[in-house]
């Protein structure tokens, strides 16, 4: 698809779809991610594998419980960070560095519910 200047002093409404498509394609044409992205992905996977393989039994149990529900993502963060502390009465405190404002989370033992407390 080629765009050409024409001599008319008109803005063609019908061109709007073409213009949007052209502008968007043109703005990212040829853009490719750097090679480092794939390296970072591999590193991220390696970190995740290490965290899950070396985690204590109660970590793994927590992980299984979390992944059984909708909290898989939190479970990944928690295990990747390796920063969960048992807090008694079946509760665990998790500090998630990737959350905005570094919010502290409490993971309930009986039901895997995460509450943002600060």
């Amino acid at each position: 698809m080629n765009l050409h200047k024409v001599d008319e002093n008109k803005f063609h409404d019908d061109n709007i779809d073409h213009l949007i498509r052209w502008a968007l394609h043109d703005s990212v044409a040829g853009a490719e991610p750097s090679a480092q992205v794939w390296e970072r992905i591999q590193q991220g996977i390696a970190d995740y594998e290490t965290a899950t393989a070396s985690a204590p039994v109660w970590y793994r149990a927590l992980w299984q419980r979390l992944t059984a529900r909708w909290l898989a993502e939190v479970g990944v963060h928690v295990l990747a960070q390796g920063d969960v502390q048992p807090a008694g009465q079946g509760r665990m405190y998790a500090f998630d560095m990737r959350a905005p404002m570094s919010m502290v989370r409490i993971i309930e033992g009986k039901m895997p519910v995460v509450r943002l407390v600060s």
């Binding site: 080629n2 200047k5 002093n9 213009l19 949007i20 498509r21 991610p33 480092q36 996977i45 898989a72």
Partner: protein
Amino acid sequence: MTKGPDTSDGLLIGRVCQGDQEALGELYDRYRNQVFRTALAITRNRETAEDILQEVFIKLYHYRERIDTTLHLAPWLYRVTTNLCYTCVSRRKRWLTALDDVIENIVAPSRASPERQAEYGELQTVIQQAIDTLSLNQKTVIVLHYLSDLSLKEISYILAVPEGTVKSRLHYGRENLRKKLKNSRALFPEVAYEFT
């Protein structure tokens, strides 16, 4: 959602499930540009788009067991990509609003200068700026529809909203762009463009 998948995607995911990272690499090579360019078009930031691409494929690995290999992989990737774009853009907005205000005050006088006006004369820039002023909801639908060539039904699945909502966002997004571009005619008063 769409049945009759690209079977090789399903096979590759099966291999990823068995811990084969080469298979993940093949999927990465197949989809990296699509994911990256979509994220770049929405976020307008190369570094953020690379972070999103990285996160998408790490998520693919984490959730490999749950991915339905009988469906196309692309909609799943678009869904994760747009979700991450939403998170990044809204987080960036929250943190940079104050900074933007400062920058706005510093550059505002020069923005009105003829040099700046001339700089904005490029049609591509004008349209891109108009797209950037759309709400995130409208912009995302516009990018998925016009850049990624996805149907309303596919976008509906990706964004997890009804098809009518997608249609409405596309309609109002287009109308907003039409108005903004008409208003921008002062930037190219004697020039019209056509596609051939």
